[in-house]
């Protein structure tokens, strides 16, 4: 919304600035041209008058007033441009006059010369032709200036429109997305490799990212609602059966206990599913810090020590050089705990579970090896899937989410998980993280 209100005045402002600068420049040039022309025309007239004065004074010196009057009269008849000439004697009477009418000082450029005997010779040249020429020149310049203004305004408008156009297109797309919520639209990228194209590309890239996140979250929501149906059915079943039967306090207590236990399972499942979905879609907030992997392993082993002991499994950490990773401590502990949970669960009494930490190039490895039942080759690729439970694992208690969470969290850290297994001999799970 903001962009639309801003781009119009912005475009107009840009156009006006452009036009104003252009017009001011043009007018100064025009004015200068006019002033120079006018000045040089006046200069030429003055030169003509000066040379005539020189000529007349020479004639007067040689032949006196009579000779001068003869020359003037002859010139009046033959010269292409008529000059006004007046010779005034010492007694202020006009001795020679080219013609009585037309001596109108306001329309003449006049030059005077005082001769040695005190006689004053004056030559006047009409400025009418000059003024005429300048008037025509002014009219032409006016027209030129006007067309410059028009060109400047149109050009400015066109130029800024083409500059603002991509911004406006961007704005339109954004407005449509806000209105419809459809993030699959993209702004066409201009042909030129300029700042606006770059902005458009960045904007499209941002939309790609948002769309990915939104799609991830939608998918997660679909999955969660699907995955919750089964446990909810298990929750509802016992309650319904208890209510349908004859009143019996013992049965009721059983059913209620079932419901509470199932509710807790649903809750754990919901939390785990949300964690997995968030990790997969990149929405999981990781509180990264420097975490020594040996700490993580020790905490997990500590958690499972009693369980392993009760089951008759040797649980050990293989000593190794420590590796520090940049990760979310709690999440990494969850990863280690889930891997141990898995190993302890599928290792029979008398077996061994060994955990170790190692560095391999620029990777930090966390390995959990067990001497358990192993995983059949056809099940190997599917063990990371949500809610997948292999044939052997169905007998065990669990949600089928532990390994999915491990994979999702490790990948959210930029790491990878892998597994090798020999049915009947045991499995090795490897988590590889950027060190």
């Amino acid at each position: 919304m903001q962009l639309a209100h801003m781009s119009r005045p912005f475009g107009l402002r840009l156009a006006l600035w452009y036009a104003t600068l252009f017009v001011v420049g043009a007018i100064s040039i025009v004015y200068l041209t006019y002033a120079l022309t006018a000045a040089s025309l006046a200069q030429r007239d003055r030169q003509i008058i000066q040379s005539k004065l020189g000529e007349y004074s020479a004639v007067y010196d040689q032949g006196g007033v009579r000779a001068l009057a003869g020359t003037v009269e002859a010139e009046q008849r033959t010269a292409p441009e008529r000059l006004f000439v007046r010779v005034v004697g010492r007694s202020s009477e006009a001795l020679v006059l080219s013609s009585a009418e037309g001596w109108e000082p306001s329309t003449l450029e006049i030059g005077s010369l005082q001769l040695a005997d005190g006689t004053l010779v004056q030559v006047g040249k009409s400025t009418e032709a000059r003024q005429d020429l300048l008037a025509r020149f002014r009219a032409t310049l006016g027209l030129i200036t006007l067309s410059i203004v028009v060109v400047a305004l149109t050009g400015g408008w066109l130029a800024t429109r083409s500059a603002v156009q991509p911004i406006r297109r961007l704005g339109e797309v954004v407005r449509r997305i806000i209105a419809t919520g459809q993030t699959d639209e993209r702004v066409p990228v201009g042909r030129h490799d300029d700042a606006i194209s770059e902005l458009t590309q960045l904007f499209n890239a941002m939309l790609d990212r948002i769309e990915g996140l939104v799609r991830g979250m939608r998918g997660a929501l679909d999955n969660v609602s699907h995955d919750l149906r089964t446990p909810l059915a298990r929750l509802r079943g016992p309650a319904e059966i208890a209510l349908a039967g004859p009143p019996d306090l013992g049965r009721y207590r059983e059913a209620l206990a079932d419901c509470v236990e199932e509710t807790d399972r649903v809750l754990v499942m919901l939390d785990t599913l949300m964690d997995i979905s968030e990790a997969e879609s990149g929405a999981l907030a990781l509180r990264r810090e420097k975490v020594p992997l040996s700490d993580v392993v020790e905490r997990a082993v500590d958690l499972y020590r009693e369980v392993a002991e009760a089951k008759g499994i040797a649980l050990a950490i293989e000593p190794s050089a420590d590796v520090v990773v940049n990760g979310d401590r709690v999440r990494l502990q969850q990863v280690a705990a889930n891997l141990l949970d898995n190993a302890v669960k599928y290792t029979p009494a008398g077996g061994r579970v060994v955990v170790d930490v190692a560095r391999q190039g620029d990777r930090a490895l966390l390995r959990v090896r067990d001497t358990g039942v192993g995983i059949p080759p056809d099940e190997l690729p599917r063990i990371w899937d949500r809610l997948f439970r292999g044939d052997k694992s169905r007998a065990e208690r669990g949600l089928g989410l532990g390994l999915s969470l491990v994979k999702a969290v490790v990948e959210a850290h930029g790491g990878a998980v892998s597994v090798t297994s020999e049915p009947g001999r045991g499995s090795t799970f490897v988590v590889s993280l950027p060190a």
Partner: protein
């Protein structure tokens, strides 16, 4: 002890109120933020339970208002939001503890009592006793009917936690977070295993069984 519940969900408010009354609390219930603030300012409550999503004034605003008016009543926040950020925001606003819905009542009760205890600062006992079972916190000796029982550190921690909450049911989640300081639910029955080992040591040789399982809820020493 007097508790104030500020919660707009009638069902939750009722069941929490009933549970607290059974545990010996006098309980006031209000259903929106405005009433909640009025009630909290008017009465002398030992603890307040505040939902975050409330009509009129939300939970954070309620806590903020109480704190600005100088009330130090301990506040337990109840919320359906489970993210760490929400938890931090709640505690920063002046809440004293945070419990995510849905919760086990046993856990709610334990936290409410812990808040009241902390506020009243009763002297810490150095021995915990139930019937003929005694746990000495200083010497770390456990005896039952005069017989010394040898416990591993983790078993000792579990027994200590159960004794501190003697007579009250504690959930597996509570045990996990107090004994292992572990705040997510591992899928194996870690708690069951430790409980059964403890039971072997403190109950099996004796006639009267003290450590009981309450199915679906948790464990209790009584």
């Amino acid at each position: 002890m007097r508790a104030l519940i500020i919660e707009d969900d009638q069902t939750i408010a009722d069941f929490v109120a009933r549970g607290l009354r059974e545990a010996g609390f006098a309980v006031d219930v209000t259903a929106d933020g405005e009433q909640g603030i009025q009630a909290a300012l008017a009465g002398q409550h030992d603890v307040a339970l505040v939902d975050l999503m409330l009509p009129k004034r939300d939970g954070l605003a309620v806590i903020d208002e109480l704190r600005r008016r100088g009330r130090t009543t301990p506040v337990l926040i109840l919320s359906a939001r489970r993210s760490v950020d929400d938890r931090v925001r709640g505690l920063q606003a002046g809440g004293d503890d945070y419990l995510t819905k849905p919760f086990a009542f046993a856990e709610l009760l334990a936290r409410v009592q812990a808040l009241v205890r902390r506020a009243s600062r009763t002297a810490e006992p150095t021995t915990l006793t139930l019937a003929d079972l005694t746990l000495d916190l200083l010497s770390r000796h456990v005896t039952r009917a005069g017989t010394i029982i040898d416990l591993r550190p983790r078993e000792f921690a579990l027994l200590e936690y159960l004794l501190r909450n003697a007579g009250k049911v504690v959930s597996k989640t509570m045990i996990l977070s107090h004994v292992w300081e572990y705040n997510f639910d591992p899928q194996t029955n870690i708690v069951d295993v430790l409980v059964s080992r403890l039971r072997d040591k403190i109950d099996r040789p004796f006639e009267k069984k003290l450590l009981q399982t309450v199915r679906g809820v948790g464990y209790v020493l009584r």
